[in-house]
Subunit: 200 residues, 2 copies
């Protein structure tokens, strides 16, 4: 891109375009919006990013990003210490917390096993998970991983490792989502929901 | 939103969701991407925003955001001083510069007249434009405003003000865009292109 907007603004546009869902065009629109609303948006966003960069660390226990270490969930005495929910990343953790149905603690893998991307067990926080099981306080590990090839490969691998450590492993149920019309569901989900049918 | 991600991250998500094209969900995805790539994306973006907030000012002549004042276009001796192109904002200026067809200078209005939003002439940089015409160096003012109701209202108003100052006023031509199929064009554009037809 030509440097008519000045190198500082071009650099900002380049960085904004690396955010998910942003392209060169939407990054330019975002930069424009920031330049138009300097006091209300540009300066607060700069300060907020600097604060997050400075103060947010990954929890030594679960790996979740937080300003506290251990994080607010791991250091909450009201969370059940005998349950660990294994998730891919902070986005999955936030989704679980929004659902508000889980009262245990988490473990973030930091990704999934992927043959394609050459990501093996050592690239994930699997050793840290097994170490958390050693004291024997954890009764159950719940795998909340995506229903994709990589997610299921990772789940299979983890199920073996956690069983070998003598802890019970479960997975989130598969089935018809709440509000889901059968007509719109893919065949795989319908087949799994049928196999996992329960007394009504 | 619940504060399970910590107030700092929640604040960042809130600010990101104010960017154009971002909603609460995509802002969360963006925050997640930033947290995953702290060294490559989070810290550079924080530094870039701080630099833009610190160093970018609006040019005292044309109003364009730049680290220089007068901006790099206004202080370029190779740009034709007798031509001023009036645009709504920096986004329109960047679009004109990308086209690379204009060798004069610009004047940013900072918005458009809008009865609906209660934005009158005093809210725009119109007085500054008329003052730039007074020395008599400017021979032509080219209005490059959007072909919307507000854009055309603003163009009409400016045409009168600039004519009254004794300077010629022109507007960007309307017609079939390059590569435009007639079948896909709206009727108004076709009608305008027909009225403005030229010898082939």
């Amino acid at each position: 891109m030509a440097a008519f907007a000045g190198p500082e603004i071009e650099r900002l546009i380049g960085l904004l375009s690396k955010l998910p869902g942003m392209g060169p065009r939407s990054a330019r629109r975002a930069a424009l919006a920031l330049l138009k609303r300097r006091e209300q948006l540009l300066s607060p966003l700069a300060a907020s990013l600097a604060e997050v960069a400075d103060r947010v660390v990954n929890c030594r226990m679960c790996g979740a990003p937080d300003t506290r270490d251990p994080c607010s969930i791991c250091s909450d005495p009201n969370r059940d210490q005998s349950l660990i929910c294994v998730v891919e990343d902070a986005g999955a953790l936030w989704a679980m917390e929004r659902a508000g149905a889980f009262r245990g603690r988490y473990h973030l893998l930091g990704g999934l096993l992927s043959a394609l991307d050459g990501r093996g067990p050592d690239a994930l926080r699997i050793k840290a998970l097994v170490e958390r099981l050693e004291p024997g306080e954890v009764k159950e590990v719940i795998l909340a991983l995506p229903a994709t090839v990589d997610g299921q490969t990772t789940a299979h691998y983890l199920a073996e490792r956690v069983s070998a450590a003598g802890t019970q492993v479960t997975s989130l149920a598969r089935g018809v989502p709440v509000g889901g019309e059968l007509d719109w569901l893919d065949d795989g989900t319908i087949a799994q929901a049928l196999r996992a049918r329960r007394p009504a």
